[in-house]
Amino acid sequence: MTGTHPGPGHLTHTGGMVRAIVRRDRIRIAVWVGAIVLMVGTSAAATKGLFPTQADLDTAAVASNSPAVIAFNGPPLALDTLGGQVAFQIGAPVLVIAALMSILMIGRLTRGEEEAGRLELVRSLPVGRHAPLVAAGLVVTAMNVTLGVLIALALLGTGLDLFGSVTFALEFVVLGLVFAAVTLVTSQITENTRLAYGLAGALLAVSFVLRAIGDMHGGGLSWLSPIGWVQQSRAWAGERWWPFAFALAVAAALVGTAAAMLTRRDLGAGLVPPRPGRATARPGLRSPLALAVRLQRGTVVGWCAGVAFGGIAYGSITNSIEAFVRDNPQLADLLVASGGGASLVESYLATATRIVALIGAGYSIQSILHLRSEETSLRAEPVLASPVSRMRWAAAYMVVAAAGSVIVLAVAGVSIGISAAITTGDASLVARMFAASLSYTPALWVFVAVGVALSGLLPRVAVGTWATVAVAFVITMFAALLDLPQWIVDLSPFEHVPLLPAQGFAWTPIVALLAVAAALGGAGVAGLRHRDIG
């Protein structure tokens, strides 16, 4: 098509790009927004059902005002009101999921398109230099605003008041926009989409930990965290919106930075140039297994750093749990009354280990899905066209995913153990937390096996393996709150692993999980050997 288009505009055809994105990603967009709204809406309704009277709320305010819960959820504000409980119970984990939505969408729409080479085609058309970036920003902004409106409506439907509901909904919108802006910047820095996700994700993890420590100690560290900023809007607890204005100003500055970076770099390049590689391969790079290790060693190191950071953060507040209980005899009595026998510290550490292991399951899935991505990217083709059997090719990725899972769990356990041992002075915690974390190995292997089974038998939906860990996450975090039936809770492999060190070790669930993993993995491999590749 020839003809005139409006000048040398940097934004020419932004509207067309927005339409193209929405048409292509409409299902992805709907699933993200719908899932988060569903999570918030059901949690709010469940909270209301859980605490029908003021007396219930008063008891809950005491019970939930514990540093462990605060570390996971956020600042304890107005916990004796329904709104305060809703905001607290939904808390930081769901905010993190909303931020992940923005990170993954922006990364995919900007650097992902560029790395795949599709942006080159788009930019060769009469499309403004900034149009793809602005279009991505507009789509993700619209996603966040839609998310906010639906959350506000869901909360109003629960019977909560307007101002608090809008404020709480704005927490999601503003946090999403901040991390959309962060990802716009990281996508300019590196030419590698995964690294752009990684940098933004690392910042999200740091934000979570900073606000966990800050909220625990009621101190200023929360103000270094974007999650802390939005939670300081105090929904249903004396709302104030100026933290939103602050967060949005930071986001605007980041967007400006990204736009400036974009004009200073070439298409396809990052601001940080890639280093040259080796002219010849190391002698060891001669098998599919060596290739799988070579491809994923950075991923393993990244996840180890992530779980180590989380483990150290959770471990380091162990001591505060004891102190908190000392100062709150009322809470201690309540916990003793609720039974269990285990000490508060042990219960806390068991929960923290389960959460860090859940994060580690992210590695297991990312790793095993190489089986599928190698196939769809056609990189499996030259390997399978050489004298390498499908079995040997698949085994390489299975070994790396399974062994990497053990490494990630070991690092997580040692991190929690060492930091808990240092803060409490109980050296035995290192070995105990190491064992506690490694006991999740069979659970992670089940996720690896799910990835193999889907890649082998239902390759088109292999990426759905992520949904299984999302379900496990929801079960672990919200089973009690949502009062899920036991059969649903039992679907999560994590719920079958004994809560070490609060509970004793048991072989039966471990063996059962290993059997499930072996069956799923075997079925997947059989499927891979008999179907068409590519």
Binding site: E191, N192, R278, R286, R294, L295, L378, E381, P382, D532
Partner: protein, 309 residues
């Protein structure tokens, strides 16, 4: 392992009446392809005609629904690993691991096949002017293609399976590729060269198979195919001659000038003698006859406007 004499006795590639469907799509619909050992065989067809699907069946990545497929005397699905020791493959769009360098990938693929001739590898890297230290992420299409070609050509295998291997290469590199293939021919290797670049096939191949919509429409030597083709004729004449309606004359264009005329047409080869006599009657001032090209072959099989897919 079969002996050399056994190999030469049976075709290197033998495909008969192969059908492969993907859902409702019939990608291969009774395809035939026979390649003798030591032959360089051009595999021609527009995009979507089934060339890549055929090659994937030959590599054991896809299983044919029906029909007979033999590769180097074995079954490509059941004996994939053993057969792959004896062949090298270059896809049409070489997909590489973004974080590995070109040099690492060349070595890896060669080692997976079992033999690395380092001297030959270094020589090919030089001839193709590839920088092996760059990460694959930063390679252009042409450079990715070079990585695939070097990895395949550096090995001493008996069969090269090349699926549009020169897409993205500049003309200089294309001539390096042709040199390398001629060397491979000299070493007695068998080559399956899928292409829609006709000059490349004309320059290299002994025999060609032309496929369309998953079916072989023509197979034979280039000479055999030329036989049924037409010759393009362009002439300037002192006096106009009327060729309209003459048997064997097609696509006639007449440009009458002052006194003389320019005539362009295509002529069936068996009517050439008659047409040239008629032109002579108008006193030829200049004459250009071009032999049929594979371009025209394509035009004839696929109709105008569909060439070069």
């Amino acid at each position: 392992m079969s002996t050399a004499s056994e190999r030469s006795a049976s075709p290197a590639i033998e495909v008969h009446d192969v059908v492969k469907t993907f859902g409702a799509t019939r990608a291969l619909d009774g395809l035939d392809l026979v390649i003798a050992p030591g032959e360089v065989h051009g595999f021609l067809g527009p995009n979507g005609s089934g060339k890549t699907t055929t090659i994937r069946v030959l590599l054991g990545l896809l299983r044919a629904d029906s029909g007979h497929v033999r590769l180097l005397g074995g079954d490509p699905w059941a004996d994939a690993v053993e057969l792959h020791r004896r062949l090298a493959y270059v896809p049409g769009d070489v997909s590489l691991w973004p974080k590995l360098s070109g040099g690492e990938i060349i070595d890896l693929l060669a080692r997976l096949r079992g033999d690395v001739d380092e001297r030959r590898r270094d020589e090919l890297i030089e001839r193709f002017e590839l920088d092996p230290t760059k990460k694959a992420r930063t390679y252009s299409k042409g450079n990715r293609q070079k990585v695939g070609l070097i990895a395949a050509l550096a090995s001493h295998v008996e069969l090269l399976v090349l699926d549009e291997p020169t897409s993205g290469l500049d003309p200089l590199m294309e001539s390096v590729f042709q040199e390398c293939i001629r060397e491979a021919i000299g070493e007695g290797r068998t080559v399956l060269l899928s292409s829609h670049i006709l000059a490349e096939v004309e320059a290299l191949c002994d025999r060609v198979s032309i496929i369309r919509a998953g079916r072989t429409v023509e197979a034979g030597t280039l000479a055999e195919l030329r036989h049924v083709r037409r010759t393009s004729v362009a002439a300037e004449l002192a006096r106009a001659v009327d060729l309209a309606g003459v048997v064997g004359v097609h696509d006639l264009v007449v440009d009458r000038g002052t006194g003389g005329a320019r005539i362009a047409c295509s002529v069936d080869n068996d009517r050439l003698d008659d047409v040239l006599r008629r032109l002579g009657a108008g006193t030829i001032e200049s004459l250009r006859c071009s032999p049929p090209t594979l371009d025209e072959l394509f035009l004839r099989h696929y109709g105008e406007g569909q060439v070069r897919g």
